[in-house]
């Protein structure tokens, strides 16, 4: 039964993405050293975490055996709702913020109810929800972006996306040289990643999430409230999509009703590349974090090494196919080995 440390590492779902990430960093840096510069890292991180927040929640949802195609639409819609309410002086920014997130939670709740209680596949439910939500965003705004530059003097904006510099100390200097620029959103992402990892691996609720995806009837037979677990996860993923959309709108000083289009697929790609199973029962937050970085660094890296950005999707598609092949090979190796 005792296997070597290496053997056990290879069997982990995070093994493939980890190796890929290391290889990418080595290759990109050797071609263009600017890849590993602090400026580039800081910029990449800022973009990364917005999709990353959604990917964390999507990991839990997919582990329970469902997925949500409406996250990109909620990403765009929540920001539009918040800024419309604020700009028309209906609400103060914090109240508009809570209202927008409340609507996001409600959208997730409705999807969850359709999937669990009406037993409609999540593909169809969330596809429908995508159209409803995106349509609402366009209708509310007449298709025009909402300005969000008035965020500048708001404490809420500071808390969500304010930035600070990590000093680049050297021995001789006593002053702080700006080194790595860090956005508050990175801190939020880190906190949520730790929280999600803790929930999935250490809590009873995490046990239920895996059980819901792995064998729903077994979970139900043990008294696990499968319906409730899934609805909560739909609400969480919608909530995180809304939060990410709001953060993004403040950073880019615009709430565009079209923003977030196509994000759902990119997020699902991040999650499955990280080793979470599309059909549920196996999920890893660590893997998702690796998957997030793989996709983001790939987008960033191929531009830096001079490959046209338009070729990006070719690489991403190839990575997805390669990772799926690896995971299925590991699965078979695992089943044969016992």
């Amino acid at each position: 039964m005792q296997r070597s440390l290496l053997g056990r590492f290879i069997d982990r779902p995070e093994f493939g993405p980890f190796v890929l990430l290391v290889v990418m960093i080595v290759v990109f840096t050797s071609i263009n050293p600017a890849f590993i510069s602090l400026l580039n890292i800081g910029n990449t991180l800022a973009f990364t975490v917005e999709l990353g927040l959604i990917a964390l929640a999507m990991t839990l949802l997919m582990t329970s055996g469902e997925f949500d195609l409406s996250v990109g639409a909620v990403f765009g819609f929540s920001a539009v709702v918040m800024w419309t309410l604020f700009n028309t002086d209906i609400m103060s920014l914090p109240v508009a913020f809570l209202t927008a997130l409340g609507i996001a939670l409600f959208i997730g709740f409705v999807s969850g109810v359709f999937v669990t209680i009406l037993a409609i596949p999540s593909f169809l439910v969330t596809l429908g929800m995508l159209l409803v939500v995106r349509g609402s965003a366009l209708w509310v705004t007449d298709g025009f972006p909402q300005r969000s530059w008035r965020a500048g003097d708001q404490w809420l904006a500071e808390v969500l996306v304010g930035d600070f510099w990590i000093c680049n100390w050297t021995i001789q200097q006593t002053t702080c040289n700006p080194g790595l620029r860090v956005y508050m959103s990175v801190i939020w992402f880190t906190l949520f990643a730790i929280l999600c990892h803790y929930v999935l691996t250490r809590t009873a609720f995490g046990n239920w999430i895996t059980a819901c995806g792995g064998n729903p009837s077994a979970a139900r037979n043990r008294g696990v409230k499968v319906t409730r677990v899934k609805i909560i996860l739909f609400m969480f993923s919608s909530f995180m999509a809304g939060l990410a959309g709001i953060i993004s709108s403040i950073r880019t000083t615009a709430a565009n009703p079209n923003s977030g289009a196509g994000y759902e697929l990119e997020v699902i790609a991040m999650v499955v590349i990280g080793g979470t199973a599309l059909m549920g029962g196996r999920g890893t937050i660590l893997g998702t974090v690796l998957g997030i970085f793989i996709l983001r660094l790939m987008r960033n890296g191929i531009v830096l090494i001079g490959v046209p950005g338009l070729a990006y999707n070719i690489f991403i598609g190839a990575i997805i196919l390669g990772m799926m092949a690896l995971h299925s090979w590991l699965e078979r190796r695992h089943n044969a080995g016992t």
Binding site: R202, N207, G214, R222, G281
Partner: protein
Amino acid sequence: MDQPLIDMRNITKHYGRIQALTDVNLKIAHNEIVGLLGDNGAGKSTLIKVLSGAVPLTSGEIWIKGQKAEINSTSDAIENGIETIYQDSALVPQLSIARNLFLGRELRKGPRFLDRMDLAEMNSVASELLRKVGISKNIPPTTPIGSLSGGERQAVAIARAMYFDSDLIILDEPTNNLGVAETIGVLKFVRDARDSGHSCIFIAHNIHHVFKVVDRMVVMRRGKIVADDLDPKTCTIADVEDVITGEDLVI
């Protein structure tokens, strides 16, 4: 016979226009293994699904230890001390043995809102149980169920029912798809469960398996109980086969 553990009275079950159970009466005593026999479609699975809360009954009453019980869901049944082990829906393959044992009733530590599992305690209880049910190999409790054999999975499910002190353990075709040695193992677990004070309902198509382990046999045909008290010590396999097929009603 003193007060029975389970007393099912006049149970009727319709699936739409199909009548799966007609006026079934069945008592199960404490510390008894009952073999439930019958041909395909006789209504065996339906009867135990009614008892385990998986399907609602159309009419009839279930009494447990002299009290009328309302069983509307599987958790109701578990609360009433009835554990059902389905061949393919008992365990989650991706979760470890220990996590499966405690699924839905995880041990926790620390403040309630952290919802933190006591994994160390769960693992040590699981090791202890695995030793008790006599899984021969030394399998760590962190092994995922997916890498166990069919017989070992049954053993884990039975161990769970024993650990949570259920009064009645229901096994629907637990020896299907098992090899010879594994079947013997499962039959042994069932006897151990009885010897430590549990009652069992055991459904199997292989009459030889049933004969080896039960105290009493009940035969169903077309949704009705046609024989209620066949004793494996006094009747032969051929007799039972006749009752199942309805060739000869005289025993």
